[in-house]
Symmetry: C2
Subunit: 524 residues, 2 copies
């Protein structure tokens, strides 16, 4: 599926990759391992050998991946399609955490970094005023909700006080009804996040919340904060307690470390924990600049994915965190990878003849071992795994039951799955036979702390960008969501017309509305 | 990929399926639509036409799918691999809700149904004693947790009192730490669910909970209930307030309507709501027996999946509920389909040359529209969608913002996505071009009630079984989880030995333990 002539070498190697049923030895475990920024990657259970690995890194050299990553971090315009109308912007999420050590290069990046520092200073000043709120509702869509939610859930253990936190994204009225039923309205801070200030779901939900609060006698201005670009309709001191800004060079799915995640994290975890989270991300940003092979962890991760997807032909990848805290992290990564790299044209607008992003999905282990792992072991399609694990628990509690502690049981299961998938097992009963040769790797760290999570988040952000560079696509726009928005507006009008008894000019939409609204659905 | 000679007809049709960019008309919307048990399927946006549909149903006839389903419901042994050691059991989940109208056929099914009725009577008698508990923790793994959680979350609106409900499955110590930190211990009822009574994670977590309660001065016997097979170690009146039974003919992923889900649902929602849920499931069980084409909704669903996966070659399927309540439903279905049909041998133990279960994944809309839908619209791989929607909200609240209500916005988005994916859009800017021809269908009902959810659950259970019959595989065992369990036990011993400073004979495991436990992970 990989169409590049210069990679005959890899295409050839893919015809007979190493047989994991035979080659998995203890020597291999310590050999195919790399570490940086407090994180290890163990990849002995991938179907690679040294020569394949070398060829993959040569391919990265040819495609100037690290150089492109460096230019991205310096603020060069990377979000574009050559010769066609496109966003033409930088992608400077790294600048939101680039101010710790003066290591940031590039004029635009330094400006953006300075901008972020100012926003953090504003936030620090406001924080004491916000301590009184016992409940936080973050209202935002896509990257303004999924990333912050995944990160907050992962770190809520570190929250010094027991605030209730809700994420409201969907326009589904049941979503907002449930929240309004549960919150103590006057103790609630609403953080409204929309870069453009016009996201349909967010604006709708904000309007409902404001009206509700007002009807109950409250003052929205005292309880609403906005996070948006400067000068949008949501940058309005007459309507918000405060507004925090993000630059146009921050894409939604890359925005967690900006004010999009920052306001919530600083309120709930404290500013120091938020800064530690940024430090971890910045540490991995530096790792992503490393020129030397496997020491550049995000590049290693990107190349392993490329090998599995484009050379071995596996259509999906599963992310399996062995950690309660990371239960929503796969959903964030699903967005990060699939929205960034679910593209079919290159950066010059030409249709690609290669496969871009696989489907990314996953659920925590060990629970998922009793669910879809049956297919992973014995199904007809092969799914590469990316497991995530930690040496220590967050809560510091553990229990000896039988001969082992729960954390040992957890890690034992993690390793056992990787070995079982790789080695398989022969059996005279065909139903107890395991074919093996299912690849996986493990990201491992000491503990799920703000620093570690920052590094992990940044690892995946760079991995996503590197894959985009390898495929020669623009990982920073999302034109694919536009058609649905246009048609949704048309459909809304059609629903309104139907309700008002007017005829609609949108024939197809009308047919759907009529079909749905038929009240004759029998209840059997 | 479909290897059956007799289906040349379908294989040929798959070479030039209908072009949805051209054929999607209002006539098609009302034509490709079917309804039963309060549910509609709208499938105009699938790449089928009447002749393909007819051929698919002929294939179902050849494979005697409805007849096999009928025999399953009557209690015939369907869980087997011919000529090899296997479970050799019935799959009688339908009997757990088969006692409403005397329509149940088959001696075994009637016995099982009677058995279920007795358990429900036991439960009804005990319920008043359980009302005092303000918190419920359901401890179980796989089907003992995912299904009940998905269903409880979907129906919690109908709960008359505000109980807190937790699901504890993972052996991750942080999971149990968080729960112990949050619950009011002496007001908590623990429902321990394990068919065998020996599931590692469940037994470990139960032991920890019992010890904890005892140390705090409580009496586990007064606060623990078990759901298990008769005569297991968990069927013990000296240790449990009560034990509820499931037959050996109930597989974990098919167990939601049995006591596995029943105890929790009856306590939280009340027995009448639980019975309504069973009534809905039973209604769809009857629909699954219908001989007449599209009127058999689960068969229609199975055939559409088969067409997309085996003939058009799409490797995954996404389930997108447009409903807050169904946020965990895709995770349950992921288990149901991938554990049931992630198999590579047929029912005589022969290696298959066709693809069985696709990867099943998904997240609620509209949120996911701003996440992975980019790939669905413009990526290089095609993902068929199964959308789920409802005419009315659960909470009965709605808001007019702009010209439309939120529920209208929700449904407008749903329909808009299906149309956009099917029709695509031409554009001179290649980045704004949509290729279209992405298939989808919609399950639609009046409201997400206990009855509707029962029907929906049963729909998917039958669809899963029908797909198994079409592929000629055993959808009711899960031998694929065994190897991991064996290796995990070995790895646990290895961890214990490492902690105790003993040397281990499991060389590969030891290499992993050493690699993970290295305390030299630099923090950069």
């Amino acid at each position: 599926m990989w169409g590049f002539k210069e990679n005959d070498e890899l295409a050839l190697a893919a015809r007979s990759p190493p047989d994991l049923r035979r080659v998995l030895t203890e020597e291999r475990v310590s050999r195919f391992c790399s570490q940086a920024a407090g994180m290890q990657i163990l990849f002995a259970t991938e179907r690679i050998d040294q020569s394949i690995l070398d060829a993959l890194f040569r391919l990265a050299d040819q495609k100037k991946v690290i150089d492109q990553g460096r230019r991205m971090q310096e603020g060069e315009v990377v979000n574009f399609i050559q010769g066609h109308a496109s966003e033409r912007r930088s992608a400077l999420h790294t600048a939101t955490r680039g101010f710790f050590d003066g290591k940031i290069e590039g004029k635009r990046a330094r400006e953006a970094s300075h901008f972020s520092e100012k926003e953090i200073a504003k936030l620090r000043t406001l924080l004491p005023q916000l301590q009184k709120f016992t409940t936080i509702v973050q209202v935002g869509m896509g990257g303004s909700s999924l990333g912050p939610e995944a990160v907050y859930r992962a770190l809520e253990f570190f929250s010094p006080s027991l605030r209730k936190v809700y994420f409201l994204s969907n326009v589904d009225p049941d979503e907002i009804s449930k929240i309004l039923k549960e919150v103590e309205l006057f103790q609630t801070l609403f953080i409204i996040v929309s870069k453009s200030g016009t996201t349909l779901e967010t604006v709708t939900n904000e309007t409902i919340l404001r009206d509700h609060l007002q009807r109950k006698g409250g003052q929205p201005k005292d309880q609403f904060i906005s996070v948006t670009e400067e000068k949008t309709s949501m940058d309005d001191p007459s309507r918000y307690l405060a507004s925090f800004y993000i630059g146009d060079y921050i894409g939604g799915r890359y925005s967690v470390t900006s004010m999009v995640g920052g306001v919530l994290l600083a309120i709930t975890l404290g500013i120091d924990q938020y800064l530690d989270f940024l430090r971890g991300a910045h540490a991995m940003d530096q790792v992503a600049l490393r020129e030397k092979g496997t020491a550049n962890l995000p590049l290693l991760g990107a190349l392993l994915s490329l090998w599995n997807h484009n050379f071995l032909g596996y259509p999906t990848v599963a992310i399996i965190p062995y950690s309660r805290g990371l239960s929503r992290f796969p959903a964030h990564l699903q967005q990060l990878f699939m929205e960034s790299n679910g593209k079919h044209i290159d950066r010059e607008g030409r249709c690609l003849s290669i496969e871009t992003s696989p489907v990314v999905w996953g659920e925590p282990g060990t629970s998922s071992q009793h669910s879809f792992f049956q297919l992973l072991h014995q199904g007809t399609s092969i799914v590469p795994l990316e497991c995530i694990g930690f040496k220590k628990t967050q809560y510091g509690e553990d229990w000896l039951v039988g001969d082992s502690y729960s954390q040992e049981k957890l890690l034992a299961n993690l390793i056992a799955q990787m070995i079982a998938l790789a080695q398989g097992k022969e059996d005279s009963n065909p139903n107890r036979e395991f074919l093996g040769n299912r690849p996986s790797h493990l990201l491992f760290a000491e503990q799920l702390t703000p620093f570690t999570l920052g590094a992990l988040l940044s690892y995946y952000e760079h991995k996503s960008a590197f894959l985009g560079f390898l495929w020669d696509i623009n990982s920073f726009d999302q034109e694919g969501v536009q058609l649905g928005k246009t048609l949704a507006a048309q459909m809304m009008t059609t629903f309104t017309e139907a309700r008002q008894g007017k005829s609609s000019s949108y024939i197809l939409g009308k047919a759907y509305v009529e079909q749905l609204m038929k009240s004759t659905i029998s209840s059997f």
